[in-house]
Symmetry: C2
Subunit: 260 residues, 2 copies
């Protein structure tokens, strides 16, 4: 099942997407039962980010092939960082290249969308707390990441967390193909079978640190092949069984370009 978040004539709502029809639901974190009697044609609606996370919890180096490629030891435990809710944008919205950075990179990722409050959850129970999966781009100011040591500034700029297009339920998160296309050319391609810490283990681990709330997202890490974007570029994250999250890159308004 595909769940989207939509805007139509001043109203914002969640809906189940069936072919070209959208059936509104009151609260997909409570029930996927459509609100009776209403339906919309998909092309009439504006598509928004599929959820409003209170936080995005992200995992560093988590692809076995990427770690080996870098010659790095596999981590013993997940290394976490947070992206703020203010970084979220939806499909088609622009990634804004900030004046403060000279190297902004894409990072294609599978994102987990939390269904219900998760605190001290065992790995076997993790699935009960997951609504579904979506595509994410963990946009990163690579120069600032290196300069600061801490990754927060580099990853927290407004627009640095594209999410979408839909939340897809009932998927096996362990065999998703994750790809990134830059201006139509494939730059990243791997499978979540390569995850060092698979999805249910991540949910359990994170829930032993901080309570996860409905709509919160977990970004599961990015595979090999990260690289820079420029204003004017078109970036797409594709996850098999989920869809295509496309965003243009634009220069921050009112600023002077600081790269050639």
């Amino acid at each position: 099942m595909r769940i989207g978040r939509f805007h139509y004539r001043g109203e914002i709502f969640y809906g189940i997407v069936e072919g070209e029809m959208v059936l509104p639901v009151a609260d997909p974190f409570q029930s996927l039962e459509p609100v009776s009697g209403r339906q919309f044609a998909l092309p009439e609606l504006d598509l928004l980010a599929p959820c409003l996370p209170t936080k995005a919890v992200c995992v560093g180096l988590n692809y076995r092939d990427h770690a080996l490629e870098l010659g790095m030891a596999l981590p013993e435990e997940p290394v976490l960082f947070l992206k703020p809710s203010t970084a979220v944008i939806g499909p088609g919205e622009p990634i804004v290249y900030p004046a403060m950075s000279r190297q902004v990179d894409y990072e294609a990722e599978l994102a987990v969308v939390i269904k219900k409050r998760a605190r001290q959850v065992r790995e076997e129970e993790a699935g009960d707390h997951i609504l579904g999966y979506t595509c994410a781009n963990d946009v990163t100011a690579r120069d600032l990441q290196k300069k600061d040591g801490q990754w927060t500034r580099a990853k927290s700029f407004d627009s640095f967390l594209p999410l979408g297009p839909y939340i897809v339920t009932g998927l096996n998160p362990g065999d998703r193909e994750v790809s990134l296309y830059l201006n139509g050319e494939r730059k990243q391609h791997s499978s979540t079978a390569q995850l060092i810490f698979p999805v249910y283990r991540l949910v359990s681990f994170i829930s032993r640190i901080m309570t996860l709330l409905p709509g919160d997202v977990i970004l599961t890490g990015t595979p090999a092949g990260v690289g820079p974007v420029q204003p004017g570029d078109h970036v797409e994250v594709v996850v098999s069984g989920i869809g295509r999250l496309a965003n243009p890159v634009v220069l921050q308004g009112g600023t002077v370009p600081i790269f050639a």
Copy 2:
């Protein structure tokens, strides 16, 4: 003026504290005009965390005396990290010592409470975006901070962000005395005159990265003298002109103590 957040017979509300009286306000981020006709006696009310931040943006090493004591170069720019909303607790609520850590430290800080949306704000305009100031404890699992390199896990445990007791308006943030008392003994003591990046500069800097929302907090860094707590301890952050934020430390329920 002192603004608190209160619970009384199932109702949660903000209020202006005048002596022993509390005058409810509808939304202190919009107006500090009391809702006419209602008042409460302070001792009748439960005191909650004074605001509900969507995010807490925190600054690493930011006290000149502390940096010099450590023999470290003064940073060129603030180093940021985030604490999630789920870490917030109020006055008197317990700091929960997690099973995952063997060294949990206190860190007394002055916290800035944002009044209205701040994006790309100049230093001269920062004051217009601040509602007031409160006390914060940036509780940190020091062992996990060292192990991970990234600070997020160490600082994001549930209960690791005590805030309160009140938001105080009209203060000069540049000459606050910040102290920490552990079981009545003073362990930290400095002045915000020692801040490497003062408050208005921090607001401006952070607002050029991520949009700050009403109720968001900025933690301005901690002075020298950080150290460990143990279950059973009583920790107090005192900021001059604001008040005293007191919290007990308890062991995480259902777990075996892992320290002697």
